[in-house]
């Protein structure tokens, strides 16, 4: 609670938005007036008491899809970012700790991944292994793992040269302990700040994949795909696609407010 009291207004705003999104996501079936895929009326109905945000191109309730979209979008992005950060950070720290050929091999492999344009890599990998949701999560995680690896390796490099790591080695600590207890806590603020942006990039990436014809499976509601499905309307001055796009923007800004604050706190502790 004292933590919350010291938070700047921007961070409080961010946390409120995030909490609201998570809650709506978790309780989507209770909150949403209609089903996720239920066709409730004609297409493109305007806003009304019955359909607060109107209906979409198949006559599904926009509001309900936004609510279910929160669940799918945020859930998937969290999962993907989580995997990318988990693996990327683990490998990056491992490379920094071991140095030598382990570092060389891992770093060169990551170079290769980064040298291939991400969209192309995703298109090819998904075409090879098939575009199911688990596959998509895996592929995006692999793509985003690369920059996370680099970042955490660079950050961990600064830490592994510190004496407390030597001290832990001299205690005979195993690699896992060194990574988890000695290094990770010291690079976590860097990772958190990065995770804020990456988290958003992930669902933008999913949206871009949808744009190119792969991505989340219909009729699953997801904000990125919802922008895509309705995007053409914007050129006719229809605001419908602005709703999911606005939701993405709001969430991005909020998450980064929180990340900024955490970073600030972490750096404040250090000095």
């Amino acid at each position: 609670m004292t933590l919350l009291r010291t938070a700047p207004p921007t961070a409080i705003f961010g946390m409120l938005v995030l909490a609201a999104t998570l809650l709506t996501g978790i309780f989507a079936p209770l909150v949403a007036p209609y089903g996720e895929t239920e066709i409730v009326g004609a297409e493109y109905l305007p806003w009304s008491a019955e359909y607060p945000l109107g209906t979409d191109n198949l006559g599904r309730d926009m509001l309900s899809r936004m609510i279910y979209g929160a669940r799918n979008t945020v859930g998937l992005a969290l999962l993907t970012t989580g995997i990318a950060f988990g693996l990327g950070a683990a490998l990056g720290m491992f490379a920094a700790l071991k140095g030598g050929w382990v570092d060389q091999i891992l770093s060169r492999a990551i170079d290769v991944v980064m040298a291939v344009p991400p969209l192309i890599l995703a298109l090819m990998l998904l075409a090879i292994i098939g575009p199911s949701i688990p596959n998509m999560v895996g592929v995006i995680a692999v793509i985003y793992l690369a920059p996370v690896y680099r970042l955490s390796r660079a950050a961990a490099m600064n830490v592994v040269s510190l004496d407390f790591v030597d001290a832990a080695k001299l205690r005979g600590e195993g690699t896992l302990w060194l990574l988890r207890r000695e290094i990770l806590p010291n690079i976590s603020s860097t990772l958190v700040a990065e995770a804020g942006l990456r988290f958003c990039f992930v669902f933008l990436f999913i949206a871009a994949l949808s744009f190119l014809g792969i991505g989340i499976q219909p009729p699953t509601a997801d904000w990125g795909s919802m922008v895509k499905e309705n995007a053409t309307l914007i050129t006719f001055g229809d605001v419908t696609p602005l709703i999911p796009a606005g939701a993405i923007a709001l969430l991005t800004v909020s998450i980064n407010f929180i990340a900024d604050w955490m970073l600030h706190r972490a750096s404040g502790l250090k000095s």
Partner: protein, 486 residues
């Protein structure tokens, strides 16, 4: 209004690829179809009323068994380099698509030809394996545009010299082509635009934006989701054609559960065709009746009972199949047709009422035709249609057809197909084709929910004859030489 000459027509096309080339054996998209008809010409064209009509050929006739066809060429038709068209050119152009080395899409249709002979300068004789009353229709195909014989019985596949109304000024595959009218075009009353520019604009929104801002005059396949917005614009006109285009969901009748005709019937009654026409096609289409013959085609069977959405009936058929619920996976992608994914989702929603769960599996657009179509037991697909029932059934429903997407092998149907082809009596043919449509509908593996209209949009300056050929989009892709600016 009378056609007028002049103006530059700018067109935004959905299709077109970097891998396009002028080689007629490789044509596979609208961009090249339209180009092919504008720059080269065919022996026969399909007239607006759907009948075959001589084009480079002056006339053609068959022996009574319809197994030998003699085509006589026009005297005045010239290539853009001034040479006149000879029988040898025709022989070389057709041969280009035949033989072991050929990779042409039209090769299977030409397999029935046992011999081609030039009889003098102006006459070509085709000998067929067996009689085919519809043979001339084949020569409307965009692959079979005529090139010059190089002197050794072959053509130069990359040549730009054609017999059409336009010559190529610039061509960037997958990007654009610029055409200019030939002043010495031999065909009367055709090729009105001075210049034509076709751009590949793959993104539907981009296409519509370009039309609205006046950057192009004509686009194909506007996004039906937003077409109501275009309709409101008074400078624009939506053009529709009731073609032979139809959307299908082929089931492999050899794979469970689709091997049970009752399951097939249950699914055929669990789909809400009206909803698909309204919501996916936005009204630009008509419901299908699970056979591929369009109402505008000859020998259409108007007496068949229309399959309609009826969950109870679907349940009834499920019961007959000994099931009380059913779960199937429908593989789909918008590559199959624009809106295929939405249509599948609608199907899935409607089928719930009949206790059937249809899982929609979206596949990547890229590779759809090689990985999903013909491979997965239940998927979405489309047929551009064929001018005659014989061509349609032979291509996609005959037991030995390469594209028999349902693996359907109905003996009676296949017998009728052969008999009808050789039959010259029109009313007998009608009876036979009628029965074949019925067999398709009740026993076949294809669920055909809707026939789509070809929709295009253009600004009001673009004018066209009152009646256009409806087999394919845009006057069967001959709009470049048939349309004009008002």
């Amino acid at each position: 209004a009378e056609p007028q000459k002049g103006g530059t027509l700018r067109v935004g096309f959905t299709q077109g690829s970097t891998s396009d080339s002028l080689d007629p054996a490789t044509y596979s998209n609208d961009f090249m179809f339209a180009t092919s008809y504008a720059v080269f010409s065919t022996l026969v064209e399909i007239a607006p009323d759907g009948s075959a009509k001589p084009d480079l050929a002056e006339s053609y006739e068959a022996t009574p068994d319809a197994a030998t066809w003699t085509f006589r060429l026009r005297d005045d038709a010239t290539f853009s380099d001034g040479k006149t068209v000879t029988a040898n050119d025709v022989v070389a152009s057709v041969r280009h698509h035949m033989g072991d080395q050929s990779k042409s899409g039209v090769k299977p249709l030409l397999a029935q030809i046992t011999d081609i002979k030039a009889d003098g300068d102006k006459v070509v004789v085709f000998t067929l394996q067996s009689g085919n009353a519809d043979f001339p229709f084949i020569f409307n195909d965009y692959h079979l545009t005529i090139r010059q014989d190089q002197g050794d019985g072959t053509i130069d596949p990359d040549t730009r010299i054609g017999t059409g109304g336009y010559v190529i000024e610039a061509f960037e595959p997958g990007v654009r082509i610029e055409l200019a009218r030939r002043d010495d075009y031999w065909k009367e009353g055709a090729a009105h635009f001075d210049k034509v520019l076709i751009l590949k604009v793959g993104d539907a929104a981009a296409r519509m934006n370009a039309l609205m801002t006046g950057e192009v005059d004509l686009i194909d396949r506007p996004d039906l989701k937003t077409i109501h917005m275009l309709e409101r614009n008074r400078d624009l006109r939506i053009h529709t054609q009731n073609g032979t285009l139809h959307y299908t969901m082929p089931m492999h009748v050899t794979t469970a559960p689709f091997d049970d005709v009752n399951v097939r019937l249950a699914l055929k009654h669990a789909i809400d065709r009206e909803a698909i026409v309204q919501k996916v096609l936005k009204g630009y289409g008509t419901v299908g009746n699970d056979h591929p013959i369009a109402s505008s085609m000859p020998f259409y069977n108007a007496d068949l009972e229309q399959h309609a959405y009826d969950p109870d009936k679907a349940k009834h058929y499920l019961g007959k199949a000994g099931l009380d619920s059913l779960e199937v996976t429908l593989h789909t992608a918008d590559a199959a047709f624009n809106g295929a994914v939405d249509a599948s989702v609608l199907f899935s929603e409607a089928a719930k009422a009949a206790g059937i769960s249809v899982n929609v599996a979206r596949e990547p657009d890229d590779g759809y035709w090689s990985n999903v179509w013909l491979q997965k037991p239940f998927c979405t697909s489309y047929w551009g249609g064929r001018p005659t029932p014989d061509l349609m059934f032979s291509a996609g429903y005959a037991a030995d057809a390469d594209w028999n997407a349902t693996k359907w092998q109905n003996e009676r149907f296949n017998e009728l197909l052969l008999d009808a082809r050789a039959e010259l009596d029109e009313s007998l043919r009608a009876e036979m084709y009628g029965e074949m449509q019925m067999l398709c509908q009740t026993d076949g593996g294809a669920l055909i929910p809707a026939f789509g209209q070809y929709v295009s949009a253009m600004n009001t300056r673009v004018a066209m004859p009152e009646k256009v050929s409806e087999m394919w989009d845009l006057d069967s892709q001959r709009f470049i030489e048939r349309w004009w600016f008002a």
